[in-house]
Symmetry: C2
Subunit: 261 residues, 2 copies
């Protein structure tokens, strides 16, 4: 077991509910001997991966990690472009916007714009939701051919709600519609009471793919506003697709969307 993998295990201990760790935290979370935990945390601090919190024995991620992590957005400049589009829409309509990426069968938010409305959808950056049961996830999955989607779910999945797909075939049906219409929609799926609209776009030169998503409480959006959001997302994503020469991009087809809904 290389010390590198232990160090990464330590980094994975941090989450939106655990901002710092102690020697005993590591002993319980990772099941390592106290001696190793003590030396590992000190080594990581000495190297600059962690900082001690004041004079206490608590360790938290360092400024260095903050900065290198920040670069992720520039390295994947696709994220920055998508973030600009989502930020603009979020500012205009006041609802929460996200940019997310897919990791296997999970979706991770990379940037968020909280929105101004009192009834606000809040998902923390870094929280993971299932891909098949979210508009974001289906927008991204729709970029894969059906057989690759099937390969992602060798054992199927368990639907978290009535409105989410219940099996692979239903999922593939909805993905086909996403490809036709150019956007994905969810309602009361991974998160109850929340409705969301997403489009996906990629950069063939880096292989990155992101979803642009606007989410809002299920009851508060008028049909006209919904269409306006879809149009804004679609247009913003189309511009990015044009820049990156994304051939897998599914352009908006509002004719279908309007007659179908």
């Amino acid at each position: 077991m290389s010390i590198l993998s232990l160090a990464v295990d330590v980094l994975r201990c941090f989450s939106s509910t655990r901002h710092d760790v102690t020697v005993t935290d590591l002993v319980t979370l990772l099941g390592m001997p106290k001696s190793n935990a003590s030396r590992l945390l000190r080594a990581m601090r000495d190297e600059g991966l962690l900082e001690t919190v004041g004079e206490s024995k608590r360790y938290r991620p360092s400024l260095l990690l903050n900065q290198v992590g920040h670069l992720y957005r520039f390295a994947a400049s696709l994220i920055d472009r998508a973030d600009a589009v989502v930020g603009g829409i979020s500012d205009r309509i006041g609802h929460t916007g996200y940019v997310s990426v897919r990791r296997g069968t999970e979706i991770v938010a990379v940037t968020a714009h909280p929105g101004r409305h009192a009834l606000r959808v809040v998902t923390s950056i870094g929280d993971r939701i299932p891909a098949f049961a979210s508009s974001t996830g289906r927008a991204l999955l729709a970029r894969l051919p059906d057989d690759e989607v099937r390969a992602l779910y060798p054992a199927g999945f368990t639907s978290p709600s009535e409105t989410a797909p219940h099996d692979i075939d239903e999922l593939l049906g909805r993905l086909a519609r996403v490809r036709d219409e150019g956007f994905a929609e969810s309602r009361d799926e991974a998160v109850r009471g929340v409705r969301a609209l997403s489009v996906a776009v990629g950069d063939p030169t880096t292989g990155d793919e992101v979803a642009l998503c606007l989410s809002f409480p299920a009851a508060t959006v008028e049909p006209a506003e919904r269409l306006s959001i879809i149009r804004s997302l679609g247009e913003g994503a189309a511009e990015i697709a044009n820049l990156t020469k994304d051939k897998r991009f599914h352009p908006l087809n509002l004719a279908i969307a309007e007659t179908a809904s």
Copy 2:
């Protein structure tokens, strides 16, 4: 030489001008054998610290680092509070705002609000400027007793411009004034043509200290607007100091500032 320290060296290679690295980059930047560079990058990718860019041999920071780095702001919730204050002022007046921390004799920006004006001050997050020659740095240095400031500069320093302090004694004189007035100001120092106003605040329970800074092109700010910025910064920082029970906080003293300027 532990592999951990090499891994951190790799992370330090990333910057606002280098978003990804290759094996040969490491060979030239860190002077390590090709074999090590190759294995190190692969190990870091396998563990999840790095990602390969598409199908190429380029490596960039991973999503994991992005997320753990993001937590830094919550771990150091002082930064979040300061960021809210600076963001508010930046939105209102349209000039660029920063939150920065001191590392030794250098200042690092942690969050930035770009501002709306055409003539805009742009400093990348993570870039480092000397503490003695910036308002941000002097606001933070003013929280230290004089002897600790002297200890930071055992060999003195070289002033980068006419308006920056030229030796320790001049620096200490300006720090004394910062303590009296409750804010620091710079003009044409580390960055030419740029004027900046800063206040500092800390959290005794974590030992963190941050500077709140507004910066703008030297010629574009009226005296009344300058005073308004100083007042906003001072009031925002005072609220934070009150929350954290920061005993080292130097409150605004506009009476002195107005008569002196």
